[in-house]
């Protein structure tokens, strides 16, 4: 082994230790968030009792006790839904920024949010049960429309995909505005749903966002090195033997379907998917395998904490909290990062 190879190996060792440290810190933060979100609330239940209530060996007779219902069917699903949704949005953001070679891409770039909003708003006219499936169908319809425009117009190039997403967003947003204008007594419910909230999380919806996370995380992790090559831009992935069109199609569809699941259950929660990958790139670099794993942890933790804050402030829309707290924090990181670089 020559000197360069030895220093490469040493550099990788240091990088690995740095990543392990960050992973441990994020796990500790997530665990602290779990304790806060599951043990604390209007009904203070001691931590030891919470542990008992969460135990799989809890006797059947105790499972219907009010405190067991609060912990097992209200607080735990809400926490898990927040972690799953935050993780899913952050991973989708990282994937889309990489695959579209565009730092401004986020889970809603491809018109998913506008499609879900339009479908969901339409669903309110058919009764509240129709909202979730119609939102999901709306998101998928928007995805189909974007893909059709992009592939027919520009052969699936990333610039065309982003442009098609902007156009689809504009059309469907106008549709949402129209539905709000004719909604009469349903207007309040539509506006509240559009703002996004985890307050109604149930075990099924929490499980579904974790399924959504797996839908995007597993293929993106497996294709991580190829995604790295594509994210170099200028067709370098193709030159390195990657079928960029196929990779783009697989990852755009998986991240969009996952985002559509999250939006249809919990509404539009902005900011997490855009900013979490940027913050992590500053800390651990742009390699996608690490970025995806840390994005899931950091996005999940961020949304769990933000949801706690939103609940504490009287059930504010959680997207408002993520943007209000995370925005200035991100600005600070950008400014201090630039100063350090200078």
């Amino acid at each position: 082994m020559n000197n360069n190879s030895a220093s490469l190996a040493e550099y990788r060792r240091k990088l690995r230790s740095k990543r392990i440290m960050l992973g441990v810190c994020l796990c500790i933060l997530l665990a602290a968030a779990a304790v806060w979100r599951i043990a604390q609330g209007e009904w203070n239940i001691p931590l030891a009792r919470v542990a008992e209530l969460l135990s799989p060996s809890l006797p059947e007779s105790e499972r219907t006790a009010p405190e067991a219902i609060v912990v097992r069917l209200v607080r735990l699903p809400r926490f898990l839904a927040a972690v799953g949704t935050g993780g899913l949005l952050a991973v989708s953001g990282a994937v889309l920024q990489g695959v579209l070679v565009n730092p401004l891409a986020e889970p809603y770039t491809l018109g998913i949010a506008a499609g879900a909003a339009f479908g969901g708003a339409l669903g309110f006219f058919f009764g509240s049960l129709a909202v979730m499936p119609m939102a999901f169908m709306g998101a998928l319809a928007a995805l189909w429309l974007v893909n059709m425009i992009a592939w027919k117009g520009g052969g699936g190039s990333s610039a065309y995909i982003v442009l098609a997403g902007i156009v689809t967003n504009a059309i469907l947003s106008a549709g949402v505005t129209f539905l709000k204008a004719i909604a009469d007594d349903k207007l309040g419910a539509i506006v509240l749903w559009l703002m996004g909230s985890l307050a109604g999380a149930a075990p099924l919806s929490a499980a579904m966002v974790w399924v959504g996370s797996a839908i995007v995380l597993v293929p993106a992790f497996i294709l991580g090195r190829q995604l790295d090559a594509v994210s170099l831009g200028e067709g370098r992935g193709e030159a390195l033997g990657v079928d960029e069109r196929k990779l783009r199609l697989v990852l755009l569809c998986s991240s969009s379907i996952a985002s559509a699941l999250a939006v249809s259950y919990f509404g539009i929660i902005g900011f997490v998917g855009l900013v979490t990958p940027h913050i992590l790139r500053l800390l651990i670099g742009p390699s996608h395998r690490q970025l995806l794993a840390f994005s899931f942890l950091a996005g999940g933790t961020l949304l769990a904490v933000a949801d706690g804050a939103a609940q504490w402030l009287g059930e504010l829309p959680v997207g408002v909290v993520t943007a209000l707290v995370g925005g200035p924090f991100f600005c600070w990181i950008l400014v201090s990062g630039r100063r350090t670089a200078k």
Binding site: M1, N4, S5, L223, A229, E238, A239, D243, P286
Partner: protein, 260 residues
Amino acid sequence: MNDIFTFDSMSSGYGDKTVLKKLSGVIKAGKITALIGPNGSGKSTLLRTLCGFSRYSGKLALKGREVSSITRKEFGRSVGVVSQQVNVKLSFPVYEVISFGRLPYHGLLTPVSPQDDEVISAAAEAAGVTHLLFRRIDELSGGERQRVLFAMALAQQPEIFLLDEPTSALDPSQSVRVFSVLRRLADKGRSIVVAAHDINISIPFSDEYIAIRDGSITACGSSRELKEDVLEPLYGTKFERYVSSKGETAWHPLKDSRHC
């Protein structure tokens, strides 16, 4: 087989625009072939078509196989491409950018091995970027980036190199370094096609030349035999030829009263 690429009545372009018009010719194996011609003549389009990036009509074969039937993975293993763009969108460390050259040899979950590290460091050394290995690529100058991207292609260890203006951002000494590496590779049997505006560097290092103007081949042959009778109609300007004490030829474009 002595020809690495053969093309017959091949046309290619972008969208509805045809840039290359029914080209026929060959690229010889184990040689450096210089593509020369004015801006917009079709040199980059020819390189893009040879590496399977652009659609074409007519016949184009790589070692006897139609290019359109070759998968991207197969291309990645046999063809290294250096484009004239030096922008890299994300701030990867230099060693990682070079390590992407090993991607065609890896399975989806294969990690970078110690053998890959040997190849990466050898590529970095050949391209003169060893001292930059742990810097972020977005912090580097255009010339340094160009050398890093050249090192990435070297780490690919392909049989064929297709290079589009690989020295456009380099100083004379680094340009000579890059062409010397290409010369050594060709002497070891690699086939190299390089488009470069600076004929005074590309021609002395190359074995063959192909002159392209308005999407058509106007001349081709041995680089040693290139004369002003090819260059002057190709570029539409007069050239004066100089021969150094070492016997190397250089051309100087003369002032053109139409441009003054």
